[in-house]
Structure formats: structure tokens, C-alpha cells
Symmetry: C2
Subunit: 213 residues, 2 copies
DNA sequence: CGACTGAGTAATGTATACAGTGGACGTTGT
DNA sequence: ACAACGTCCACTGTATACATTACTCAGTCG
């Protein structure tokens, strides 16, 4: 085992992401650096560095002289992110070696089926969904692309609390996963990509329906 | 006229980008914060903040305890970036309102034709190319997407000195632009997207041929 | 009564100071 | 001769101090 150290700014960044996902840091709220630094038990320097890093990922915004604020969530941003992720995941799938896809296809199918069975526990669903997508794209060696996808998903995660309202929604997602997996298994990559895009855009629409009821 | 102020970190970021594009900051080179800060006439604090911002854009890398270094250029990174940009620009084109595309089509065509005529001045070509692509995507209102494209192009710009070696290359690019413009003019968006992707991938291939001769 | 002004305050933006780490180099022991 | 160890120096990572800016809220003038 290797004891791995991390810089404070990395730890702070992780902690802030954690808290944002947990919902304890309300979107749109202004950030008081002194207070937040004190609360985290660090000085302002690494905190500011973490904030700047998060700003580039779109989770935080800043304005000259007025400091930082947590990015507000909006239907607009959500509608912007989804098509981009659909395109990028589609590309990642396209760039994956077909032989690798053939290899993981059975597992994809199996997990897609398990998905609809194990929707009992609330909060597990999104993790499940993430892992399934990760597996789907595990063959893509384009690091830059995978980094981008990771970053954008981070921004999307803030919408999850809104997202996971409806069980019907989950079942539909599961069936879509199954469709994608089946096409991958059949070697129909183009079809799988299209199904993947549909999955994203359907998911977006479902969420938007919950957003402003 | 509005006098606009900028934070030091923003100015430093801009200056570093400028210098990287000018080639005065060799890729792969380690960064000495004290020296660079002194050279820029600022303290380490805003410099580090700028470096962290650039790190998230892929222009700079960092390692725990060893500080920052300018990202080395590599055929691998170049090959990773191009398909991503092809996909994202394709998406941006897809998301553009057809009526706007119809409106700018004549200008696109005209500039594509002028392009092949005005290849005389060295160094103007890439600017020309950039502006043409900007015009092509000017109808896309997905800010997030446009930001992404801008950021990725920043990373690509470092490869330009390698890129612009061959005049034949430019002529081919011009003819491809013309093809894209013609399809836009004809209302064939899907065809234009495909031509755009081809343009990117051809450009990549041409550059790679120059990269390791 | 309303709008402008100005001091005061709290926060951000920047500089400097301190602490801890990595690497170079010399030393020592075999 | 060479490997292992220890010391030292330069540099990064973090904390603190300073400067500057933006907001607040009386107070004053029209």
C-alpha cells in the first residue's frame, strides 16, 4: 500500500464537490472566503486556488471585485450540458475498439437488466447509472475526451436531486440501457451511439418536466 | 468608452497564453514561479492562480511537490484533440438555427473563396481559418459548448507553428471550407457537418505528416 | 421627500513570510 | 569504486499581512 499525500487545494476541491453534491452548499450563494476557510480549517490561499480550479469546471463563477459564488442551477445550463455530453459519449463509444466492446457487451446487458431490479434503494440509482456509463466507455483511450466527460458530468451531478423523483423514469432509463447494450452486443455501434444520444435527450426531457412543474 | 479593469491573474493568464503561442515558452519546460513572477513584475500569488486556471485548460500540468510545467506537445494529444473538436463543432453547427445559417451562407462562401486567394502572408492563415470557423458557428447559442470549443482550440493553437508548413495544405483546407459553405448554402446541414468533420480529420492527418517527417 | 455624498466597514485581490519537500552533492563506509 | 547516507539549498505549498475595492448607512442638500 502506498500512502498518498494530497495538496490542500486538492482536498479542498474534493470536499467542496462533496458538499455541493450533498446539497449543503446552495447553488447561487455567494462565498465568503474568510468564513469558508475558517470552517474548513485552512487559510484563504489554498481555498482560493481550489475555487479557481472549480471555476474552470463551471461549478463556480466569479466576478471582479465581488468574489466567487456557487454557480446557480438553471434549466438553461442543463439543456446546454446534455447535448454536449450526448455528443462526447457518442464519440467515446465510436472511438472504442470494437473487440473491447464485444468483450464487455455481456456485462453491459446483465447490469442493464439488474438495473431495473435494484431500483429499491434511493440514491443508489445514479451511482449505478454512472458505473454503467463508465463501463460502456471503458474502451476509449482518448484521455482528453474522458477528462472532459468527467468534468461535464460533475456539473450535471448537481441536478441529480431534481432528477431522481420518479420511478417510472428509472425504468425507462433501464430499458434504454438495455437497448444500447443489445446493439453493442450485436456489433451495431452506430445504432448504439444513436440509442445513447436518445437516452441522453430523453433523460433531459424527463428531468425538465420535473424541473418546473 | 468604458475603462475595464482586470485582475492580475487574468492579465497574467492572457500574457502566458500570448507567450506560449509566440513560442517563447518552450513546451515541456518546468516553471520556476519565483523567476517567472519576477519577470512579469508580480508576486507569486496571482501567478499561481493563473497557472492553476491554465492547468484546467490543459495548457499546463502540475505534479505534487514539483510544481508546474508547460504541457509538452505530442502527436498523441493532437490526435486526441482533433476528433473532439470535430464532434463539438459538428454539434454546434447542428444546434444552429437553419435560418441563421441561410443568412450567413453567402459570406461563408465568399470568404472561403477569398481564403485561397489570400494565402500570401504567412501567419495570417490561421487567423483567417479561426474567423471563418467562428462565423460558421456564430448561430450557436449554447454558451457552454462554445466555451468548450474555445478552450480546446487554445490547446490546439500550440501546434500551429508545426501546422502551417505547406501551402498545398492551405489550398486543400480552402477547398474544404468551400465545400462546407456550399452545403450550408444548399440547406444540407447534415452534409455540412460531415464535411466539417472531414475537414478536421484531414487537417489532422496533414499536420501529423509534418510532425515526424 | 428623494437623491446624492462621504465616511466606515467588510470583503476581495495581492504581496510577503514561513514551513515543508525534493533533489543535488559531498561524505563515509565497505 | 560505488552505494548508502546525510546535509544543504532551492523551490513549492501554505499562512499571514497589506492594499484596494465594493457595499452600507447616515447625513446633507436640493
Amino acid at each position: 500500500m502506498v500512502i498518498q499525500r494530497q495538496t490542500l487545494r486538492a482536498q479542498i476541491r474534493a470536499e467542496l464537490i462533496e458538499r455541493m453534491n450533498a446539497g449543503s452548499l446552495p447553488p447561487g450563494e455567494a462565498i465568503n472566503e474568510v468564513h469558508l476557510a475558517a470552517e474548513l480549517g485552512v487559510s484563504r490561499t489554498p481555498l482560493r486556488e481550489a475555487l479557481i480550479a472549480l471555476e474552470n469546471e463551471g461549478l463556480i463563477q466569479s466576478e471582479q471585485g465581488k468574489g466567487f459564488r456557487f454557480s446557480p442551477v438553471s434549466a438553461k445550463e442543463f439543456e446546454e450540458l446534455c447535448p454536449v455530453l450526448a455528443a462526447l459519449e457518442g464519440l467515446a463509444l465510436e472511438l472504442s475498439p470494437p473487440e473491447h466492446l464485444a468483450e464487455i457487451a455481456p456485462q453491459l446487458l446483465q447490469e442493464a437488466r439488474e438495473f431495473s431490479a435494484n431500483v429499491a434503494e434511493y440514491g443508489v440509482i445514479t451511482k449505478y447509472d454512472d458505473e454503467w456509463h463508465d463501463l460502456l466507455l471503458s474502451g476509449c483511450t482518448n484521455e482528453r475526451l474522458m477528462d472532459l466527460i468527467t468534468t461535464l458530468k460533475l456539473a450535471l451531478r448537481r441536478y441529480e436531486s431534481v432528477m431522481v423523483k420518479d420511478e417510472q423514469m428509472i425504468e425507462r432509463a433501464a430499458s434504454e440501457h438495455q437497448l444500447i447494450a443489445e446493439r453493442v452486443a450485436a456489433g451495431d455501434i452506430a445504432g448504439a451511439i444513436e440509442a445513447l444520444r436518445t437516452n441522453w435527450l430523453n433523460g433531459m426531457q424527463r428531468t425538465l418536466n420535473n424541473f418546473a412543474p
